[in-house]
Each structure stands twice: as C-alpha cells, then as structure tokens.
C-alpha cells in the first residue's frame, strides 16, 4: 500500500489482471514482501489472531442467524432449540458466545501491547484511534449480541445500558424511548438489536481494513520502539511472520477449544438461562467480564449523570492517548518509570474489574469495595491525564540502541551484514 511495489506479474493472465484490478499486487505487497521489523515478539501476533476472531464470529453468527428467531416471545426458546435440536447448534453457539470472550481477551492484550511499546505515538496516531473505534464497535456489538438470547441478564443488561442515555439532560428520556421503540425494553428493542448485531461486524471489518491500511503506511512499530533505518532491520512478512502468526494462532485456538469443549459456560451467567421477566430484576446484575472495569466506575459514583460521564470519559480518554503521552521514547523498555506505572495501571484495571463483579454493597477486609473502585477510577484517570504527560517530561530514558539489527544481531554481525 505504500513504498515501492515489488510485484512482478509473470503469466499473461496475471499481467491482464494487474492492469485492470491490481488486487494480486496489493496482496503481494502487503502480505508477502512487506518489510517487517525483525524483532517482533509474541505480543505482535495478536493482530492476526484478532482477524481470525472476527472471521469466526461472522461465520458462526451467520449460521446462528439461520436458526434464531428475533421475537420476544420466541427468542429464548429458539436459542434452546439451537442448543438441543439443531445439528451442531450447541457447537456453533458455544463458539460464538465464547468467541466474544476470546475476542476481547485478544483485543485487551493487543491494546496493552500498544500501550507498553508506545505504538500509538507519531506517526501511528490514526492506527491507534481506528483501533479504539474498533474496540468501541466491538463493545456495542457484544452488548447487542448479549441481549439476543432474551434471558434475565440479557433483558436487564439491556435495560441498564439503554437507561444510561436517560442521564442526558432534557432529551435523555426521549432518546431512551427512541432506542427501545416502546416505553421499556421489549420486542421492538430485541428486533432492532438483532438487526444492528448483524450489521456492526461488517462495519468492524471495514474499520479493520482502514486500521491495516494505516498500519502499512509507517509499518509496524516494534518492541524497541525505534524506527526501521535500513533493510537489515526488517524481514519479509512471508514466511517469517505468516509462520510466527500461524504458530501462536494455533496456541490461541487450543485455549479457545478448551473453553468451548470443557468450560463453555465459564464466562456466562446462570441467570441468563432464565427467560427474561420484565417484572423481576435479578439480585445482582453483572455485565460480561470485559465490561466490568467500566461498570465498576459507573457504580462507584453516587450521581447518575456524573457516573455516566465518568464511564464514557474513560473510553474517550483512550482516543487522546497519542497526545497525552509527551515522551519522545516509544517503548517502555527504555522508560524505567513509565514501565512501573504501566504495570500499576494494568493491576488497577484488574482490580476495577473485580470490584465490578461483586455486589454493590460488598466489602473485603472491612473495606467497602465501592471505595476501592473510587480509588481505582481516580488512578485510571490520573494515569492518562497526569502521570502520562508528566512522566514523559521528567523521566530520563535509557539509551536507545543504534538500530534494530544491532540490537538483535549484536554489533559485529550487524556490521558484517551491511
């Protein structure tokens, strides 16, 4: 997509195609000869894994849509029919429902990798922003999908999330009614959520295309966070990274398969095997695990509008990271202070997730968890809005290596390869 094309059509047919629709040239340049830093580690394989996850979700989703009925009276039963009667329906559904969890697991690793190695820094700001947009679309898609089985958690999750919009002053309740198509979550809501759940993955696929396009302009960042300076610093994408990605994809699929076949309900909530009842709220409403940190933030604020703002702001903040980080050095390998705060941030995210999973009045060691969540929320914001800009200015980074080749091969080998 950028730089000199090395594609050389050989047969007459290839030349004929190349002059009319140079798709083989595009594939050749982006997936075969694309010069990729030679030092990418395991954490860089999650881009490929995420593409795999998206394809799995779309394929199993299309299959499930052949058997699912988007009607408040029939949705729950149709899902049970998929589980019991449809040939391999149980497999399709468990791959799809656990696939969402695996998708988020991979996307969180991918995002923390970007955060650690400074992959959002110039000239890769738009890659990061498109990535956060994909993450946001994923959350919306997952939310719509979770409503479809029409269990108790589906219904009440939908109620709580759509009611977030009612916090908007003046027009809030009208927006909520507009989202529902009724005065409460009901059949109209279920139908439109199904429609949107089917639509959004294809929009995600489109944004993923932009994400990869933007990636191929500056090329990959790498664990050293320094620019590629000479051809010695790179290897062709194929076979080096196709094979590496494939190997780690296999490991990922093994974990995926273990969950699907041995613990398919591990990420689920038993309340969702009870059909939706608009008159009874389950005692504890818990979102899916990947939304728990945000849920903990929402619950920790004793004011409706402010709670919604804090939760939304946590995601908006992610879009601004490229400009909140003032450091000239990308990788945390050379940022001793930032490295410590990075891990502190990761731990705080897990603690927030833990708080979000507990009931609202829970306490541990005599400390009310709502206060733990409040401190966690403060740290989350402080990390991006105070720590990140200040550390970038005051920290003395370690000395950067002269080049990727020198770092990987050592001085003499790099010199010999010149």
């Amino acid at each position: 997509m950028s730089g000199q094309s090395t594609y050389n059509p050989k047969s007459g047919f290839e030349k004929w195609i190349d002059q009319r629709l140079p798709l083989p040239r595009l594939m050749h340049d982006t997936m075969q000869t694309f010069p990729t830093p030679r030092n990418l580690n395991i954490w860089y394989t999650f881009g490929g894994i995420l593409t795999f996850c998206l394809v799995v979700q779309i394929v199993t989703g299309v299959v499930l849509a052949m058997h699912y009925v988007a009607n408040a009276g029939m949705a729950f039963d149709s899902v049970e029919r998929i589980m019991r009667d449809v040939n391999y329906g149980w497999l399709m559904r468990f791959i799809h429902s656990n696939g969402a969890s695996m998708f988020f697991l991979a996307v969180y690793i991918h995002m923390f990798r970007g955060l650690y190695y400074g992959s959002y820094k110039a000239p890769r700001e738009l890659i990061w922003i498109l990535g956060v947009l994909i993450y946001l679309l994923m959350m919306a898609t997952a939310f719509f999908g979770y409503v479809l089985p029409w269990g108790q958690m589906s219904f009440w999750g939908a109620t709580v999330i759509t009611n977030l919009f009612s916090a908007i002053p003046l027009v809030g309740t009208h927006i909520a009614t507009w989202l529902w198509g009724d005065f409460a979550v009901g059949d109209a809501t279920l139908n439109r959520f199904f429609s949107l759940h089917y639509l959004l993955p294809f929009i995600i696929a489109g944004v993923v295309g932009l994400h990869i396009w933007a990636l191929h302009v500056p090329g990959n960042n790498n664990p050293l966070g320094i620019d590629v300076k000479s051809p010695q610093d790179t290897v062709p994408f194929h076979p080096y990274y196709t094979v590496k990605d494939a190997f780690y994809l296999c490991l990922f699929v093994i974990v995926f398969a273990v969950v699907v076949f041995y613990a398919p309900n591990f990420f689920g909530n038993p309340d969702n095997y009870i059909q939706a009842n608009p008159l009874v709220t389950p005692t504890d409403i818990v979102p899916e695990w990947y939304l728990l940190p945000y849920y903990a933030m929402l619950r920790s604020i004793p004011n409706k509008l402010f709670g919604v703002i804090v939760m939304g702001g946590a995601i908006v903040t992610l879009f601004l990271i490229p400009w909140l980080d003032t450091s000239r050095v990308r990788s945390c390998r050379f940022r001793p202070l930032m490295k410590q705060f990075f891990w502190a941030f990761a731990v705080v995210c897990v603690i927030l997730g833990y708080c979000g999973a507990q009931s609202v009045d829970a306490a541990r060691f005599g400390i009310p968890l709502v206060w733990v969540a409040r401190l966690g929320t403060i740290f989350y914001y402080a990390f991006f809005w105070l720590i990140m800009p200040i550390i970038g200015l005051v920290e003395t980074p370690k000395k950067l290596p002269a080049s990727i080749a020198q770092s990987v091969l050592g001085d003499s080998a790099a010199a010999a390869a010149e």
């Binding site: 409460a184 109209a188 004793p302 009931s359």
Partner: protein
C-alpha cells in the same frame, strides 16, 4: 470568469448556495423517516392505559402489575409507614418534587402529594437511576434503611413514599397518571 462588478456574489454563487441548501433540506427530510421509525409504533402507544383490581393487596403488602411494559407497584401502606413518611422534612430530600403525573410538575414531595389515597401507593416500579426494579422492604425482610425499596443494581434506597433517600438515583419513583374507578379498581394511564 468572475464578474467583479457583482460584490454580493454572482448568479453562479447563488445557484451553488441555493442548490446546496435544497440538497441539505432534502437529505434531512429523507433522514427523518429513518430516524422516526425507531420511535414507539401506534400499537405501542395504544397500550397506554389499563384497569387493575387492587382488592387483593393487603396492608403492608405490595402487588406488582404491568403497565406499558413496566412493573407497576401497588402497595397498601400501614399507618406506621404513612407516619414514617409524613415525619420527613421535604426540604431535606434529594428530590423535593412529587413526580406525580396527577399533579403539577412543581408539586412538592410531601407524603400527601405522593398518593391519591394515603394508604394506597401506586408507583412505576422502575428505579430512576438505570431502570432496574427495586425490591420491596417489609418488616420481616427489610431492604435498605428507609423501609421502602432497595434497588440491588446500584444501591438506590427509597422510603415508604417511594422517595429517593440514598444512592445514585436522581428522582423519586414516578407516580403514574391513575384514578380510582371504585374502592378496589383503578385505571392507570
């Protein structure tokens, strides 16, 4: 090309702006049906009123009916519960408004303004925070500190008049438009 004598703009500029403006109006007009189709349909609006029989509700008890897809609480309050509610100074409440569809919007949240007959409390059972159904408090199974309701989702607590006392909910539980048809029948909506 440009006619410099026309300071206010050329005939071509006018055509650009006029056709652009018409185009914008056309796009907005075409978008509106796609937006408005998501609002409640005529069928959903038609279900707006219902009649219910409240003779089975005993003192100190609550029965949940359904109205507009929402739970509708009908609670027959005990004299003690009414007295507890009346003892509260309205100016100390987080939401000092009655939120009673049968009264003007500015009505204060006194106990008298929360029910047509003090012993029969009719409320929409939707927490004003994020829409969960609060759990009723009874002397044998208390929920929260105020003897009314506790919402388990995010911890909002309501008193025996359904007024918000503690937690993230911004408003008192809403009182729907209703009227007594007889001592035991009410029409809601």
């Amino acid at each position: 090309m440009t006619d410099t004598t026309h300071d206010a703009g050329t005939r071509r500029d006018f055509l650009y702006v006029a056709s652009g403006a018409m185009g914008a109006v056309g796009v907005a007009a075409a978008a509106w049906p796609f937006i408005d189709q998501m609002n409640p349909s005529a069928a959903a609006l038609a279900l707006a009123s219902t009649e219910i029989d409240i003779s089975a509700v005993q003192a100190g008890q609550q029965i949940v009916f359904k109205w507009r897809g929402h739970p509708l609480f009908v609670r027959r309050r005990t004299p003690a519960e009414i007295a507890m509610s009346k003892a509260v100074d309205v100016s100390t409440l987080p939401d000092p408004l009655a939120r009673n569809a049968n009264l003007p919007d500015s009505a204060p949240a006194t106990d008298a303004d929360r029910a047509i007959k003090p012993e029969v409390l009719v409320l929409i059972g939707v927490c004003t925070h994020l829409g969960c159904t609060p759990t009723v408090s009874t002397p044998s199974a208390p929920e929260g500190e105020y003897g009314g309701w506790l919402c388990h989702c995010h911890g909002s607590q309501y008193d025996t008049a359904g007024r918000i006392r503690k937690g993230p909910a911004p408003q008192n539980l809403a009182v729907p438009p209703y009227a007594f048809l007889s001592d035991t029948r009410i029409k809601v909506g």
